[in-house]
């Protein structure tokens, strides 16, 4: 069952109260019949329910079922009509009665979790981010290895010959014969023809076409390759992201996007990340392009041109061990030495070695295969542990010290792992990665692309969006590394803004493009709740969305799931100048069917109404005062009865900062991020959660809890 389908929403049960009489269980007065029901229910539960609700009813993808207070007949009716989600109607009558009897009889009292089971051994394909960081570290320098970055300028000197037109035709525009056919025309000025254009990343080939008829290689470009007809094409390599000037070098620009399973907001979920044919094509090209332009003196100390066999061997063993994140086997050393030798030219041979290593499965996947132990599990090798630590904490390949710790066996011991983990945590690179965690956890990364109506929100441009994202990253880094207080994520009375964002928020006294820490002058905003990145991504293009904002709090901050709306839910109510957003959305909480879910969602979202769809404060909407009193029932989980009312985001922030559900959810979300997978059940993160609470809510303890847990280094 997919995450989005996961639901129990016991509140829904109220809806079926009227039909509950049909499922009456009073015939179970007989204790032995009751025992049979429970026994039978146990089997049903383990086959139909446990995968989402947890084997002990501890909750997982679906809510916890422990200590339920809902009346039994209502539960039976609910199971009959709604469960299992997506296959409703497959457990009715005795099935529903039995499983409810089991749940009520068994899931009582505090939960006792066993140590999490190891996950399957396997391979984790580098994400685009990890690939980018890794090749930058391996090849030395983060700059583009290829010459032009962003835009390319074509210049043609016609000498004394007048031309009617000069255009560029190449692999990027379809080799058009004429300007009218789509050729990119050069403009004449100062005695020369010229044109500046953004080119797609990767290698392009082109020619210049004079007067729509005469094809020539670009005389100003020395890089050429045979055109297959005895002539040459000009060649240009672009290692920048698409979009042109100012773009950072990005060897992964042409890679397919890192897709994620439905409802999973983080990169690098194992099973779905695969190399298909189109992907392999790009990986192969990227390896070729990186190897072609690599500065070999940065990756091997000897001079490959004069160093002979010894230098080739040093390249193979030394660069190989860094690229593969482990020493090479003898067979691999021989294979690569042979490849290098076979090119007839030392430089060409070295580049072939680098290319093949960057195209190798040993480079492209992080190995989590391990070695078989006496107990039948597999323990990760010290080198695999080094990679797991480094990619989790730094999103890149192990540095020299970590590689040494693997070589020396330090990482075979838990205290060695802890020493290295703490060292990595102390680096600015760990801060950056926590920024990435926050972007993905909160969905803040989508602020870069969320559609906004120009008419309603003029000036919501790319630089402002970037500033918003930077704000969220900075607050997360502060909570994890400066204040070391996880609660700051929800209730911080400060933020980080540059001049652009400060103006947008109406905060005075900030100038320049650098982020500045600033205390809010009023109590309107708090933590990430008041961030433009969150408020804008949870809004529609032309209005706010109390629904999305309520769901944001439930799903992202409290880890409480809801099913997708029913097909006939209808669209978003139309913008109406005569009514506030709150008034227009009120129908959800009036219609009883809608109410079964929306009673958990809308009341929370309404509490955000003092902020518009791009995160600006507003006291009124369309001339009417905004009502931003919020209301949140069952804060700590469905059926728990905890209730909060708030009149500002600061109050909501305070509620969340103190909420056990929010604390547990932060732990759960970080686990998902670092491990690239969903937890099996609430028990998977139980020990980490307790560590976090015992250490007074220091979020570094979450990170340490995840990477020092026994199941981090063991596989099955």
């Amino acid at each position: 069952m997919s995450r989005r389908n996961a639901l129990t929403a016991l509140g829904l049960a109220a809806l079926f109260g009227s039909s509950a009489a049909l499922g009456a269980c009073s015939k179970d007065d007989d204790p032995s019949a009751r025992r049979d029901r429970v026994k039978n229910g146990a089997e049903i539960y383990s086959s139909m329910c446990a995968s989402c609700h947890g084997p002990q009813g501890e909750g997982g993808r679906a809510p916890a079922l422990r200590d339920l207070k809902t009346p039994e007949p209502e539960l039976v009716a609910f199971v009959s009509e709604r469960m299992p989600l997506g296959k409703a109607g497959t457990c009715t009558g005795d099935c529903a009665a039995d499983v409810v009897a089991y749940i009520l009889a068994t899931f009582k009292g505090p939960l006792v979790c066993e140590a999490p089971k190891p996950v399957a051994r396997g391979l984790r394909l580098l994400t685009r981010r990890e690939y980018r960081n890794t090749v930058a570290d391996l090849l030395g320098g983060t700059g583009s290895p290829s010459a032009p970055c962003g835009t390319t300028t074509f210049v043609y000197d016609p000498g004394a010959t007048p031309r009617k037109s000069v255009h560029v035709a190449g692999s990027f525009n379809g080799w058009p014969q004429t300007v009218a056919g789509g050729g990119w025309p050069l403009a004449f000025g100062g005695g020369k023809w010229s044109l500046t254009r953004a080119l797609p990343p990767g290698r392009s080939t082109y020619k210049l076409v004079l007067d729509d008829s005469q094809w020539i290689a670009d005389p100003a470009n020395p890089k050429t390759e045979p055109d297959g007809f005895g002539g040459v094409n000009s060649v240009v390599d672009v290692a920048c992201s698409a979009g042109g000037a100012g773009g950072a070098a990005d060897p992964t620009a042409a890679f397919p996007p890192d897709t994620r399973p439905e409802g999973f907001p983080f990169d690098d979920h194992g099973a779905g990340r695969v190399i298909t044919s189109a992907h392999m094509d790009e990986l192969f090209r990227a390896a070729a392009s990186l190897a072609r332009s690599a500065d070999l003196s940065k990756i091997v100390r000897c001079d490959v041109k004069s160093g002979g066999e010894a230098c080739l061997s040093e390249l193979v063993s030394g660069f190989g061990a860094r690229a593969f994140r482990r020493p090479l086997t003898t067979a691999e050393r021989d294979r690569y030495a042979k490849l290098g030798r076979g090119q007839g030219d030392a430089d060409k041979g070295a580049r072939a070695v680098v290319q093949a290593m960057l195209a190798s499965s040993s480079f492209l996947y992080r190995s989590e295969i391990g070695e078989l132990q006496a107990d039948g599990t597999y323990r990760l090798t010290p080198h695999e542990i080094a990679s797991a630590l480094s990619y989790s904490l730094w999103a890149t390949t192990p540095d020299e010290e970590l590689a040494r710790a693997a070589d020396s066996g330090e990482l075979a011991r838990p205290e060695g792992v802890e020493r290295q983990a703490r060292r990595l945590l102390a680096s600015p690179r760990a801060r950056e990665v926590i920024g990435v965690f926050a972007e993905q956890w909160l969905g803040a990364e989508n602020v870069k692309s969320v559609e906004k109506s120009e008419q309603v929100y003029p000036g919501f441009d790319a630089p402002l969006r970037e500033s918003m994202l930077a704000e969220t990253r900075a607050l997360a880094a502060s909570a994890f590394f400066d204040t070391r207080r996880g609660a700051d994520l929800f209730d911080a009375s400060y933020t980080y803004v540059d001049e652009r964002l400060a103006k947008h928020y109406g905060l005075p006294g900030v100038s320049g493009a650098d982020l500045r820490k600033l205390n809010y002058p009023d109590g309107n905003r708090a933590g990430v709740l008041g961030h433009g990145s969150v408020l804008a991504t949870t809004g529609h293009s032309d209005q706010t969305s109390p629904i999305r904002r309520g769901l944001f709090v439930r799903r992202r901050l409290l880890c409480q799931e809801f099913p997708p709306p029913p097909p006939n839910a209808g669209g978003v109510p139309k913008v109406d100048p005569g009514a506030t957003t709150r008034e227009r959305f009120a129908q959800h909480t009036q219609n009883p069917f809608c109410k079964s879910c929306h009673q958990y969602i809308d009341g929370v979202g309404f509490g955000f109404e003092a902020f518009d769809g791009v995160g600006r404060f507003r006291a009124s909407e369309g001339g009417k005062p905004v009502d931003s009193v919020g209301d949140m029932n069952d804060v700590e989980g469905f059926g728990k009865g905890t209730h909060a009312r708030f009149t500002s985001l600061a109050e909501l922030g305070k509620t969340l900062a103190e909420s056990d559900a929010a604390k547990a959810c932060l732990v759960t979300q970080y686990y998902r991020f670092a491990r690239g997978r969903l937890e099996d059940s609430a028990c998977t993160v139980d020990a980490i959660k307790r560590r976090y609470l015992e250490k007074s809510g220091d979020p570094q303890e979450i990170i340490l809890g995840v990477v020092l847990a026994p199941d981090f280094t063991v596989r099955r």
Partner: protein, 443 residues
């Protein structure tokens, strides 16, 4: 059968019983193959279903008899091609998981709930499409936004595994035609260094596969398939010469690669992708391709398409949002209908491009089979019955076109079988609840 085909083939490959079983497969595979077959298969997918079926078929399904019929409003753009289309009624995707936009997308081309099987396009890429330089081409327009969840994609390289389409037509074009020159043609050059690099990568991969045993086998199978494709190209396609063809593509100049995900640019991007697909097929670079326009539950603001009937400045109407105005009683029903018609007009453009290229005694369209599809039937209610499928192209003469076929109630898995048969592959079943090719569709 409980094993999917890929697993089954692997089983045969490792089995001592290879020969007799293989013979069995070959015999059964001749069953549905017509004497003339299509040379290529293109899928054109658009999101979020079609309007409710109404009296006489609503806006989509044709009304009238099998051979004398009237196209619904949505299909009007296909009027010039009606004699080269087969209009299919009564096809159902059967029950599937809740929230059935994703459920439909997963099942659409796989025929299996939850995307639990290889999709028909990938299957055909591996079988009849295997000789082409690129076995499969998957192009999208705003189909793979950043961090798009995998369930948005319709093409499944293996059970449970999706892969993102290429959303950038300039990049797609550069990848396909990057090394070529004006006029094209001839066998590709072979660089011995690249040959030894790919051999090294293959040796590493085989070591890893051996080390892992059964773990991660599906992942590494796909990887190996991808690397073998690179190998074939690097090694010059066995000296196979490609047809000489016109490689210029004017529509690429309309695409601003910095704005691939802006709704206003969508029509230009989609058109360019259609052009790239047709060009790649005309130049013999691929035989099987999928064009995915947007993604299910699409946030595409179609009212920003300047120069189309959908254009309404200052008014945001999204595809998915519109689909819930899919009942004729709704005042905004017309927006939804118009959006669907626009998607069909893009499909018509694809057909037109194929029809404009002569091939043999006819055109490329005559030798193709092209599928128009979306992941749900009625957009508003997410039904998976009365799926709005249209087949186009004459499939080399084997597809009986200019007709309406009404199957009453038949599972769409059989449509996938029929497509395979039209491509010369003798599948007899594909996906779930498959009972063989659709009767009467192939001559």
């Amino acid at each position: 059968m409980s094993m999917n085909r890929r697993a089954l083939l692997r089983f045969f490959a490792s089995s001592a019983m290879t020969l007799p079983f293989a013979g069995l497969l070959a015999r059964s595979s001749e069953a549905g193959v017509p004497t003339q077959t299509a040379k290529r298969f293109v899928v054109f997918y658009f999101p979020d279903g079609v309007p409710e079926p109404g009296p006489g078929g609503g806006k989509w399904h044709p009304s009238g008899s099998d051979t004398s019929f009237t196209l619904g409003e949505n299909l009007q753009p296909l009027a010039p091609f009606a004699s080269r289309c087969a209009f299919l009624k009564g096809l159902s995707m059967g029950p599937t998981d809740a929230g059935s936009h994703p459920g439909g997308a997963k099942k659409l081309l796989t025929g299996v709930d939850g995307g639990g099987g290889e999709s028909i396009d990938r299957y055909l890429a591996r079988t009849v499409g295997a000789g082409a330089p690129y076995k499969h081409l998957y192009l999208g327009a705003m189909a793979a936004q950043n961090s798009a969840s995998g369930d948005k994609f319709v093409s499944y390289p293996s059970a449970g595994t999706t892969a993102a389409p290429e959303d950038n037509p300039v990049q797609a074009f550069a990848r396909l035609f990057g090394g070529a020159t004006p006029g094209g043609g001839g066998a590709p050059a072979v660089d011995p260094t690249q040959v030894s690099v790919v051999d090294t990568a293959l040796a590493d991969l085989n070591d890893l596969r051996a080390r892992l045993g059964d773990a991660e086998r599906a992942k590494l199978d796909l990887h190996l398939e991808g690397l073998r494709d690179v190998e074939r190209r690097v090694k010059g396609l066995g000296g196979q010469a490609l047809p000489s063809c016109d490689q210029s593509l004017a529509s690429l100049a309309q695409v601003d690669t910095g704005k691939l995900y802006e709704a206003a640019e969508f029509p230009d991007v989609l058109r360019a992708q259609i052009d790239v697909m047709v060009q790649a097929m005309a130049c013999g670079l691929t035989k099987v391709g999928v064009i995915q326009a947007s993604q299910h539950t699409s946030e595409l603001i179609m009212s920003r398409f300047a120069g189309t009937p959908l254009y309404k400045p200052g008014f945001d109407m999204r595809s998915h949002q519109a689909s819930h105005y899919g009942q004729s009683s709704d005042p905004k029903f017309a927006d939804y209908v118009a959006q669907r018609t626009w998607f069909v007009s893009q499909f018509a453009y694809l057909l037109d491009q194929l029809a404009q290229r002569p091939e043999g005694a006819g055109t490329m369209l005559d030798n193709s089979i092209v599928l128009l599809c979306t992941e749900v039937g009625e957009g508003n209610t997410h039904t998976h019955d009365q799926m709005p499928f249209v087949l186009a192209g004459r499939a080399g003469g084997s597809l009986r076109t200019g007709r309406v076929f009404d199957f009453g109630y038949r599972r769409h898995s059989d449509l996938l079988v029929t497509i395979a048969n039209a491509m010369g592959d003798g599948l007899t079943s594909f996906g779930q609840a498959s009972a063989g090719g659709l009767p009467g569709v192939l001559a």
